[in-house]
């Protein structure tokens, strides 16, 4: 999930998610980013309304609070 967290971080920071930026963030976190996966995620995300997905995810029962 590193790649996805990185993408979410960029999104939350108001940045556009491109391969270069995502790679830099991942590298900074100590992840050796794989070019192909970077590409796969970035191109898939371009086709998605991220805000919409996040909104629906939040609506899902995340409740399961830790004891």
């Amino acid at each position: 999930m590193e790649y996805v967290y990185g993408a979410l971080l960029l999104h939350a920071a108001g940045q556009e998610i491109d391969e270069e930026k995502l790679k830099k963030v991942l590298t900074e976190a100590g992840v050796q980013a794989d070019e192909a996966r970077l590409k796969a995620l970035v191109s898939s995300l371009k086709e998605i309304n991220i805000e919409e997905v996040l909104k629906n995810a939040a609506a899902a029962p995340v409740a399961a609070a830790p004891a």
Partner: protein, 276 residues
């Protein structure tokens, strides 16, 4: 200019020294705290932190004298009845320890209610007598039942934002309703050159855990949506494909060794529905 009293100079020097040698310094409000509670709190925190109750002007002087970078940033929190807390734990930890000392306390009158104070309908422990008029004076509906004063109807005795009058405070205490939360209320803290406001300190582990769960759910939703194959979402994708295949096989009437159960189940359900 008059020379400051010797005790003041010594106190300021002493506190400045304590601040200098401590990891964390916090300015806390002691408003509404009774002496007994204060002593209890001090006792429960003994060995962990030092609490100094002193005048604001002296706190500011101590902050000025302390050998800590940017500690003057704490001055903004020095106003009203405050104390200086020093210790060698992290600022967030100190905050949580101090929050943990907060207790419910009876009102004395004159305080402002920070929530609606409700008196429930219930039997009290008081026999008929002068208490009745005290209850009635503050507007409670009472009656005598089985030799006890009974409050007939639930009532909001003090609305949020209103002042708790001494009469109401007295009644509340009689009914063992403690509307105040008192303790050392952290206004701001300092650690390692950083000034922590109450807002950043109030990030609790519970809230962080909830945020972590939310972040994970979002990441998972995004990965699912992007069909980004990570172990966290692959089981769900597999399950989805399986359900799709089952549904398609059922719809197509494509019965095989591996899905005959689906058809049997469907027939049973239908028979049950028809039999109902």
């Amino acid at each position: 200019m008059r020379k400051p009293a010797q005790w003041k100079v010594e106190l300021v020097d002493q506190v400045a020294k304590e601040i200098s040698s401590s990891n964390v310094t916090a300015i806390v409000s002691i408003k509404g705290l009774r002496n007994k509670q204060f002593q209890d709190i001090r006792k429960s925190l003994r060995g962990e932190v030092k609490i100094r109750v002193m005048r604001g002007t002296l706190i500011k002087k101590a902050l000025e004298k302390a050998q800590k970078k940017d500690i003057k940033g704490l001055e903004q929190f020095v106003s009203g009845q405050v104390a200086v807390v020093t210790g060698n734990i992290g600022a967030p930890v100190l905050y949580r320890r101090l929050e943990g000392t907060k207790q419910r306390a009876p009102a004395r009158g004159g305080e402002i209610a920070d929530h609606d104070i409700v008196v429930e309908a219930k039997e009290t422990s008081f026999p008929p007598g002068p208490m009745i008029s005290e209850f009635q004076k503050v507007g409670l509906q009472t009656a005598i039942e089985k030799g006890k004063i009974v409050i007939k109807k639930e009532a909001v005795l003090v609305k949020k934002g209103e002042v708790i009058t001494p009469e109401k405070a007295k009644v509340l205490e009689r009914l063992e309703i403690f509307p105040l939360i008192v303790g050392l209320d952290v206004l701001g803290a300092y650690e390692d050159g950083i000034i922590f406001t109450k807002e950043s300190l109030s990030i609790t582990p519970e809230q962080v855990a909830a945020d972590v769960a939310t972040a994970f759910a979002r990441a998972k939703a995004l990965a699912l949506r992007a069909t980004f194959m990570v172990p966290e979402v692959v089981p769900e994708l597999l399950a989805k494909a399986k359900l799709e295949a089952d549904a398609l096989a059922l719809a197509a009437g494509f019965l095989t060794e591996s899905n005959v159960q689906l058809f049997i189940l469907k027939a049973i359900r239908e028979a049950n529905a028809l039999n109902a």
